[in-house]
Subunit: 256 residues, 2 copies
DNA sequence: GTAAAAGCAGCAGAAAACTGCAAATAAACG
DNA sequence: CGTTTATTTGCAGTTTTCTGCTGCTTTTAC
């Protein structure tokens, strides 16, 4: 990346740029930013202070970190990040203005939220506080958090009123990640706790989209969420015409 | 695993990395870490000291152990130079095992949550996803998120079922920050949206504690939450005997 | 016991952060 | 428009933080 702007960037623009960088890389150095934006480090420092005051980044000596970073170097996913980005971009295409959308947790969904166009104006409902946090970065989205007891491991709402509440609503679209997708058993999970939740989510929505990198295809976990027939869209990083996807297409799923 | 970074690591990143290693392997050697992170052993030692001060690892000759591994709980030592830290530490004293506690948003509350002893086992209910995130750092806490539409600015639940839900529950203690505290009008806020929420929170709790640095004392904002009589505890960084607090004590508040 | 490794205190250079101030820029207003 | 006001930005000087190093003490291992 080279210097994007010789023109003096407005403060708001800088803030947006910085946030983007932080969310993308989980970290930024004041030094880098001052070079990228052609302003003094003092200005960057002031920007970071302001963003930190608003709780949008965590400021540290030398730069800033993403607020929702809980152990940065998960190297096991580095190779998959590009794939997930691609998946995320495709999934964005399903979302239109004014829709009411239910989203689950997981990194795929998170990437998708990050890629949502800033102009999008819709209502999102989520069970994950991590995702809620990401959704709030978009000014034009209405964000609704489902309440209940939160699981320590996955940071999603696990019981309480979720089920009751999900039964009350009708969503245009449900978007969730997946652990295993397979022709026989359909959508499967290894975290058994989350199974009833996903079932309820699917039931509450008119259409359901499942995101997953291709490695998840033709794998099976212990817990069964639903058969393929209950899923409408399958989003992977592969080309829709890929041979791996053929049998899913025949099952009636729309492949993106 | 080889050295992950040629890039300069920020201190906080190192800490996160070290914690991950400790929790993964139950032990780390200073030597290994210094190689992995490309810093001197002195730096690692200092990092380990800091993490040990916070009670996140147990330091031993040559490295560190996971705290849950040895089962030793470091005493909560607070050399509170910061006012909010001091307030937070005092407020922690109000909380006992097995309580059901309702907490609001704000930085004071956040600091308090961070200082909660790791051994504490209680149930927390919150309206703020930021606070929920912090609460989840404590393994022994049960965290309940109240659902509803989330405000972009403050990241707290603003309407929806919150009120309905708050009416259903009875909390042992409610802890919230404050914008203004004053003898005449009592507790006041400048964000009008949050007023009804705070009212409902107070009503749903047996006892209410208000946290605020002394600068908030004798100041008044536009929106009135409640008179002082509805508040039970007032927590500031001042000594309870401070002259500034006298009149609040006379109003019947317990000063911490 | 001795030797090696780890720890510790303190120092110093470098980098970053903060302070106050003045110039530049944008916004408000008649 | 021009003028005034407020905000923003960069700069210089000072203070704080971070980090590696040196010399010395303590712990560990043989």
């Amino acid at each position: 990346m080279q210097n994007l702007k010789q023109i003096p960037a407005l403060k708001k623009e800088r803030h947006a740029f910085i946030l983007k960088q932080v969310n993308l890389h989980n970290r930024v150095l004041s030094n880098d930013l001052s070079l990228l934006l052609n302003v003094s480090e003092d200005t960057i420092r002031r920007d970071l202070n302001e963003l930190a005051e608003e709780g949008r980044v965590e400021k540290v000596h030398g730069g800033a970190l993403s607020r929702s970073f809980s152990g940065i170097y998960q190297k096991q996913q580095v190779y998959a990040v590009d794939k997930k980005k691609l998946i995320a971009a495709k999934a964005c295409g399903l979302i239109k203005d004014n829709m009411l959308i239910l989203v689950g947790g997981g990194t795929s969904v998170r990437e998708m939220v990050r890629l949502l166009p800033e102009s999008l104006s819709a209502t999102f409902c989520t069970i994950s506080i991590t995702i809620a946090e990401e959704l709030l970065q978009h000014e034009n989205l209405e964000v609704i958090m489902l309440g209940g007891k939160i699981s320590h491991s996955s940071k999603v709402v696990m019981d309480g009123d979720v089920f009751f509440k999900l039964g009350d609503l009708s969503f245009d679209l449900c978007i969730m990640g997946s652990n295993g997708i397979d022709e026989g058993k359909g959508l499967t999970e290894n975290d058994l706790e989350i199974i009833p939740l996903k079932k309820a989510m699917i039931k509450a929505s008119r259409k359901t989209a499942v995101l997953g990198i291709s490695e998840k295809l033709n794998t099976r976990q212990r817990g069964v969420v639903c058969p393929l027939t209950q899923i409408d869209y399958l989003v992977t990083e592969l080309d829709p015409g890929d041979v791996l996807l053929e049998k899913y297409q025949m099952e009636g799923l729309t492949i993106l």
